[in-house]
């Protein structure tokens, strides 16, 4: 008898959890994005306004840029918000997405151990810093995970003409997220390339690390190669099962002047500077 009651409860739970989507009238938008927009708290801060205005629930899947793009290619997301310009353009060119729009940017910085064994703190270009690090064979922690940050790191190495070898001892390819890589650098006295937002939000727990290249804020970053633009792309409706209207509404909303203002204001209270800078077409021509 007791068993039967339990069975009833279990079946009931399964049934209600399955029918959840059908029962409610709320539209769902699947957003695949990078960990930086989610972990920094930006999406939690701005998305409620969208959800209310368009009566849509946004399901955020925060993963590496590589996986976010793959989710779009498989039609498992309606819209993607990522930062890896070359791969975004390829995504559109291959017909997986309809059109890319500028959203915002922040910047990358090179951080390293405070005693700076490779002597790069006086340099202003990341490529010069990378050359010194390789020359000194100082420990360097790479994300190694195909993320937007990793793509940028590889582009910088390519520019120096050096191909770092993960088996060389000083170049550590972690294959982990930004937070974990910063923890590793802090523990192992390593240099690493990071987006400024993630470093700022965690710097209290990283006493062994300091900014080496990129300055204290984005205004002091003189290396144009360290700019980090984010783009939004609706997934091609041909994939089937795509929330086409929702994706279009989302693109129009996130590039609108009001939302752009909210993006620029985010983080100012907590860190004394924005974590993301608005950069949509509507914002630039306002």
């Amino acid at each position: 008898m007791r068993l039967r009651i339990w069975l009833f409860v279990v079946v009931g739970l399964v049934a209600t959890s399955c029918s959840g989507d059908d029962a409610s009238e709320v539209h769902v938008l699947r957003l695949a994005t990078t960990t930086s927009t989610n972990d920094s708290g930006l999406l939690d801060s701005i998305l409620p306004a969208f959800e209310e205005e368009f009566d849509t629930r946004v399901d955020v899947v925060a993963v590496g840029t590589g996986q976010a793009i793959e989710l779009g290619q498989a039609g498992d997301a309606d819209v993607i918000l990522v930062h890896a310009r070359a791969r975004e353009d390829a995504f559109v060119a291959e017909g997986h997405g309809t059109e890319r729009s500028d959203v915002m940017f922040n910047d990358f910085i090179v951080v390293g151990p405070t005693d700076d064994p490779a002597g790069i703190a006086r340099l202003s270009l990341a490529t010069d810093g990378f050359r010194s690090i390789a020359g000194a064979e100082a420990t360097f922690a790479s994300r190694g995970d195909d993320s937007g940050t990793h793509s940028k790191e590889m582009a910088l190495w390519a520019e120096t003409g050096i191909t770092p070898d993960p088996n060389s001892g000083w170049y550590k390819s972690l294959g982990q997220g930004m937070g974990e890589t910063l923890n590793f650098a802090n523990e192992s006295a390593a240099y690493t390339l990071t987006d400024r937002g993630t470093f700022l939000s965690q710097s209290e727990r990283l006493p062994a690390l300091a900014v080496m290249i990129g300055g204290a804020s984005i205004d002091q970053n003189v290396d144009p190669a360290l700019l980090n633009p984010y783009g939004v792309i609706p997934v091609n409706p041909d994939k089937g099962g795509i929330n086409v209207d929702g994706a279009a509404e989302f693109v129009a909303w996130i590039t609108s002047v009001d939302t752009q203002e909210a993006i620029g204001a985010f983080g100012v209270d907590a860190f004394g500077q924005p974590l993301f800078y608005p950069d949509s077409e509507a914002w630039r021509s306002r």
């Binding site: 993963v63 590496g64 590589g66 996986q67 976010a68 793009i69 793959e70 989710l71 190694g144 995970d145 195909d146 993960p166 088996n167 550590k172 390819s173 972690l174 294959g175 982990q176 974990e180 590793f184 523990e187 192992s188 062994a208």
Partner: protein, 233 residues
């Protein structure tokens, strides 16, 4: 469906190619898990046997539930604990074992040990309680009694070995945190699977998963052969 088929294809291809990077990952996986298992067995089987035989030791009513809880330790919590232990600011920081295979072995030993102790204890308890009594009457020493009881309970003890090995070869939480998933240094099969999934290389990730399962099967097959040779079913 297409990804699944591609995953199986890539698994076969990877195995046939004997790629050095893959062999290194498989080698490190075996090295870390087998050393951790060996340490857990050397420590855990005597403790489990002692607990199974000595049924009236003080504090048993707390100790046994504690071990049972340990059998379900979340690997990520063990990883976090080991990380803090081995970190620069931690009590064992001077060892410099964080982000090394040694650190990974420490974490996996902590995961495997309660499983070995708990299941050995249960296996020993399942032996006819008259056996130790009769042996004592015949003048056997404690050591002889313990050894004979262990031999009698060998099937249960083999189950302890298999369960402990299964839990550490498949866990990712502890080795990721403590090892750091460094290419060529601390990357094992499970952390490589997480990485390839995150990169969106689903077929390669699946191929690595298939290799992991094959490895677990081969190891268990060896354990089972050993059990057969000892006269188990």
């Amino acid at each position: 469906m297409e990804t699944l088929a591609r995953g199986f294809g890539e698994a076969v291809q990877l195995l046939l190619e004997f790629e050095p990077a893959l062999l290194e990952i498989v080698g490190l996986t075996l090295q870390v898990t087998l050393i951790a298992l060996a340490i857990a067995l050397v420590l855990g089987i005597p403790i489990g046997a002692a607990l199974g035989l000595a049924r009236r030791i003080p504090g048993r009513s707390v100790l046994v539930p504690l071990i049972y809880t340990g059998m379900g330790l979340p690997p990520v919590v063990v990883g976090l604990f080991t990380y803090l232990l081995l970190s620069n600011q931690g009590p064992m920081g001077s060892l410099e074992w964080l982000f090394t295979p040694s650190g990974m072995i420490v974490a996996q030993t902590i995961i495997a040990l309660p499983l070995v102790v708990g299941l050995t204890m249960a296996a020993v308890q399942a032996v006819d309680p008259d056996l130790p009594v009769q042996m004592r009457a015949l003048g056997a020493t404690r050591r002889q009694i313990a050894l004979t009881t262990l031999v009698e309970s060998r099937i249960g003890v083999t189950a302890a070995v298999v369960a402990a090995y299964g839990s550490i070869i498949s866990e990712v939480g502890a080795v990721m945190l403590v090892g750091g998933n460094i290419e060529g240094e601390t990357r094992v099969l499970t952390t490589a699977i997480v990485l390839e999934t995150r990169k969106g290389n689903f077929a390669l990730a699946l191929a690595l998963g298939i290799i992991l399962l094959a490895l677990a099967f081969i190891t268990n097959f060896v354990f089972y052969r050993l059990q057969l040779r000892q006269g188990g079913p």
